[in-house]
Amino acid sequence: MNNLIVWVIGIPLLASLLTIIWPRRANVIALLTALACLLASILLTYQVHAGGPITHALGGWASGLGIALRIDAFSALLLLMAMLVVSAASFYANAYFADPLKQVRFWPLWLMLIVAINSLLLSGDLFNLYVTLELLGLSAVALTALSDNRAALQAAIRYLSIGLLGSLVFLAGVAFIYAGYGTLDLLQLAELARPDALTLVALALLSAGLLIKAALFPMHFWLPAAHASAPAPVSAALSALVVKVSVYILVRLWLDVFDPALSPAATLLLGILGGMAVIWGSWQALLAQRLKLMAAYSTVAQLGYLFLFLPVIVALPAGELRDNAFGALLLLALTHGFAKSALFLGAGVIQQQAGHDRIADLGGTARALPLTTFIIALAGIALVGLPPSGTFLAKWQLIASSIHSQQWWWIPVIAAGTLLATAYLFRVLGHAFGPGDSVGKVVNWGREEIPALTLALFASVILGLGSAGIWDLIVDGRIY
């Protein structure tokens, strides 16, 4: 059964074709596909846990000549998170798009987005990663543009051009790596990597392309408009998954493939940009007038935390200290995925019920939409980092690791980011629990609230309590 790694890409691809042929049943096909992918990712994670990393040589060719699909603990956990988010968002979308016309347009592109995420996480080849990035960018842009309004179209066009710029820069880096090493296979590159000038230029180009796509400060300018104007289930996937898989490639390249070649100065720069992203993103989230815009700026900030880990991890000696820090990085990425998707789905319910998402006019939301308010509060707990959420453990570990690596200066950044996050969360909750009736009369949104609640519970409770399993997988999986 080592073929599961192919099926998680093949099933959504075939399903997307099927929804083109048979658009009337597109939602049923897509929901079954999402569940099948979820099941496959659970089994794959179990296999990685039991037997270590899995490699599938496509076409039966030796790696180097052919392309290899590969999964280890790092990609398995991200895949599992992605499929949970995608499944919940699919059920949500089935209720969200009341207009059958929207459904016909949405599902084939949504399934292509799933293909892109899965093939990216499982790819073991640098050029193949570029192809998956193209597929990811294109399907994400098309889905963003599905909210038929001018703002969304403008955001989508900007997203498209900035994404293409990122892809081209990344491709230039791939070309230099190929010219220098004569192979594109990541495992072979990890063996051959040497710290020469060509490698550093190539790595800089690869990273620049990925940083544009990952929206690290100051390349975040395209993100808030795109994420805030997309339809709610799409926003959830964009913020929770699409930017995060770019960070995944970046971490993979810096910590796994090119470890000998990288200089501490470069990771320090990434850390500083990450710190600025935390402060700037949180501050903008506090100033945002609309709920979805606040959530989008919060994504800018939360992605910043992930980059704080890089200089810390590089400075730590290989072994338990490093494993702990890496586990925390992964835990933070997973928790943010669940929390941010839950927040966007909750915001989508409010937008549908109230017809707007202006934070100042949210009075009475807690009375009209108690469950949605609860979802937003739970997601907020996970974003701020209160116990027992995964973020709490991850930030705790980040502070401990900063002290171990004698980089205490990250601690005030983390503290300031956390305080600002508390402020922007309580601003929303304060308005939501306040008096007012602008949200309108009570309607049952259960078909949308239950998937969102599931994600919020994963973010705030389940991941935090089950985080020991993540560290087990990391230590067993030996990512680097």
């Binding site: 691809l13 496509l58 000549l65 016309l101 084939p108 192809v131 192979t183």
Partner: protein, 324 residues
């Protein structure tokens, strides 16, 4: 003497390319810019041919210059001048963009200089040539695209399909072209059959010489686009179910064959020995059809009547919920 002559030709080509590139970027009239860009593509195709990369030359000529030019011109015709004026860049912004581009150019040139003395860079091409006999085809480019790295090609087909899905989702039916005059109709009668036969030739020859599905598909699409422009409106009378099938059959057969091979031989797209040549031809034929359908739909630039099974006018008020 001959060498010197070729050197002069090469120098001329490169100089022309640089000049064309410059005036394309500097052109303020967008239509003129597109025409120049098409010429730039043709010149680039010649340069690829001089670099002994005929596959790239063909792809650049057919797709880079031909189809892209047609798509760009089509998009320009849609461009309605917006009420608000286009934002003016400040001088500071322009200069910083120029400086960044210059810095990038210097770094890239320096790195390309560094790659010249790399010994490892030819390793993969040697590996490809040594395994060529097992690939089922004798053209190394086709061997890489359809066998060694077939998975990349599969995902590229998915990228093309996604682009078309985006166009179909975002853009309603377009008005058709007027029927062409006598001259164009007469030319079409000659040109379209020639294009179709050429596409078939490129597809067939791809196994052992430059050619293949992408070039053939683009050429087939060129025939369809010419017909469309001549007023042979492809939206009417065309069976939409057939169009759907044509659009997806390339990927469907590709994945289907890959999965069957996986059940037989352990890994995805692992062609059985002796069958590789035939399977590659089947996949390429289906891919050609799908690429042609996709590029034609991209040029037509909107969903044909009745593409969406629910009527377009069903519930326009529903979109209000997305406007905030």
């Amino acid at each position: 003497m001959i060498d010197l002559l070729w050197l002069m030709v090469d120098a001329l080509l490169v100089t022309l390319l640089l000049i064309l590139g410059w005036i394309t970027c500097a052109s303020t009239d967008i239509k003129r810019g597109i025409t120049l860009f098409t010429a730039f593509g043709l010149l680039l195709a010649l340069i690829w041919a001089r670099l002994r990369a005929p596959d790239l030359a063909l792809a650049e000529a057919v797709i880079g210059a031909g189809i892209s030019g047609a798509l760009l011109l089509r998009a320009i015709n849609d461009h309605k001048p917006l009420g608000s004026s286009t934002p003016q860049r400040s001088a500071w912004m322009t200069w910083s963009i120029n400086l960044m581009a210059l810095a990038l150019f210097c770094v890239m040139s320096w790195s390309m200089w560094l790659t010249l003395d790399q010994v490892d860079s030819t390793r993969l091409s040697q590996l490809v040539l040594s395994q060529l006999d097992d690939s089922g085809v004798s053209n190394p480019v086709t061997a890489v695209l359809l066998n060694f790295r077939a998975y990349d090609t599969l995902l590229e087909l998915a990228v093309v399909l996604t682009a078309v899905l985006a166009i179909l989702a975002l853009s309603p039916m377009r008005s058709a072209f007027q029927p062409a005059g006598v001259l164009l109709t007469g030319m079409l009668r000659w040109l379209v059959p020639v294009l179709i036969v050429s596409a078939g030739y490129l597809l067939w020859v791809g196994a052992h010489a430059p050619g293949g599905a992408f070039q053939a598909g683009a050429m087939l699409a060129a025939a369809m686009i010419l017909l469309h422009q001549g007023g042979y409106h492809s939206g009417s009378g065309l069976n939409l179910m057939l169009l759907r099938v044509l659009l997806v059959i390339g990927i469907a057969l590709f994945v289907g064959i890959g999965l069957v091979m996986m059940l037989l031989n352990q890994s995805f797209l692992d062609y059985s020995p002796g069958w590789a040549g035939l399977l590659i031809l089947v996949i390429e034929t289906a891919a050609t059809v799908s690429i042609a359908a996709a590029l034609t739909l991209a040029f037509v630039g909107g969903r044909p009547d009745g593409w969406e099974p629910v009527t377009d006018s069903s519930n326009p008020s529903n979109s209000a919920e997305f406007n905030s």
